[in-house]
């Protein structure tokens, strides 16, 4: 699975962590090129011109940036995000990651995690016909968490009628009708994290 070169961007503020990751990756079997990005804005600027398969990020840099991350993912569906936990864990940012590791994991664990996620991101295909709008994504996310039309309407401050319209559009765009089917869709598209889903309830 190592035929393709992985393009890895690293976004951590600590120089020591950056240098450490760089050294570990450079000395590993993973064929990769590494670049440093300072912020999500920085990432968004380079993405159109530069190939990025994997972003390794300190998840704390994603706090309160959910919307930006979703937008970047929507525009650039072909890269994965791996978190490197340095200590404190924020659940909201966790949901934005494809996978993660901690600074206490062994090198083997870290590398295999990165390689697996990197390989998966190569397999993701950009798809144009099922691009959901921000609002549709909001409705979908709540829907797969089991909320009713009424609850979704209340929480998004829209009418039930609008929720139903969004649901119709989601089905028209994705070709998926059932809630269980949409859950699997949302996971495949990285709209929600699999950890969010209670395996027993679906």
């Amino acid at each position: 699975m190592n035929r393709h070169r992985l393009h890895i961007a690293i976004m951590v503020h600590s120089q020591i962590i950056y240098e450490g990751l760089h050294a570990v990756l450079s000395q590993s079997d993973i064929d990769c090129v590494i670049c440093k990005v300072d912020s999500l804005d920085d990432l968004e600027n380079i993405l159109p011109s530069k190939k990025v398969d994997l972003l390794i990020i300190n998840p704390l840099l994603l706090v309160n940036r959910e919307k930006d991350v979703r937008r970047i993912r929507k525009n650039h569906p072909n890269f994965s995000i791996v978190g490197i936990h340095l200590g404190i864990v924020d659940n909201h940012s966790l949901a934005l990651l494809d996978s993660s590791f901690t600074i206490f994991d062994t090198l083997e664990q870290v590398l295999s995690r990165l390689q697996k996620t990197g390989t998966n991101s190569e397999l993701k295909f950009p798809s144009n016909d099922d691009n959901l709008t921000e609002r549709e994504l909001d409705v979908l996310t709540q829907l797969v968490h089991g909320y009713s039309n009424k609850e979704i309407a209340d929480s998004l401050n829209i009418s039930i009628h609008t929720v139903v319209t969004h649901r119709k559009n989601i089905t028209a765009k994705t070709g998926i009708r059932s809630q269980s089917g949409l859950t699997i869709y949302a996971i495949s598209k990285k709209i929600i994290q699999i950890e969010d889903v209670d395996l027993q309830s679906h």
């Binding site: 998966n120 397999l123 993701k124 798809s127 099922d130 994705t174 070709g175 998926i176 009708r177 059932s178 269980s180 089917g181 859950t183 699997i184 869709y185 996971i187 495949s188 598209k189 699999i194 889903v197 395996l199 679906h202």
Partner: protein, 219 residues
Amino acid sequence: MFDLIEENPSLLLVMQHFNFDFRVGDFTISQLCKEKGISEKLFISIANLYNGFKPKENPIDSVDDVKQIVRFLKNSHDYYRNDKYPQISAYIMQLQKNHPEKELKLLEQFFNEYFAEVIDHLDYEDNVAFPYFIEFLGNRDNLESNAYSAQEYSEHHTDIELKIKDIKNLLLKYVVINDDLNLRRKLLFSLCELEYDLYIHSLIEETILIPFGYNMEKA
């Protein structure tokens, strides 16, 4: 009959649902239907449905035709229950084993729940709806007190093939699975076969059996 099967092998399924043997020799449809005691018109109407043509008029002419249709539908139920669904279920289970991603675990759960729903639906038709149509014919005088009706049947009748479409769409458009093309093709073929037969099954119920029930109730 031999030529027709060569042209459209899905006819074999129609024959199986009608309890025809596959060794047709040089017999014509007419001869085979006569031998089985099945109206030729009925057989051709249903075979035409499989070829994409809806009958212009209701092919049910007699009490015996209703019994034949009910038998046909019951046989298709057995085909779903004992052949198609277990086959798909086994493919999905194998796929999940080969690729232990949680997405496929969810797909397996989705399918199993759906399978249970389908079994409920089939049991309902076998135990409530079909006996109604049979009873109806045997004892029409008692019918006014009977709470059940063709209307109820058609309301209960759900489009069970829609979730098959979901699974097909997920596999063809979204869920990432590495390689395993043989297994995935077999699964997709089975899903398509099942979807098509379910579609025809609903057509038979909706365009033949239910309208006939309405007409009888009115009469």
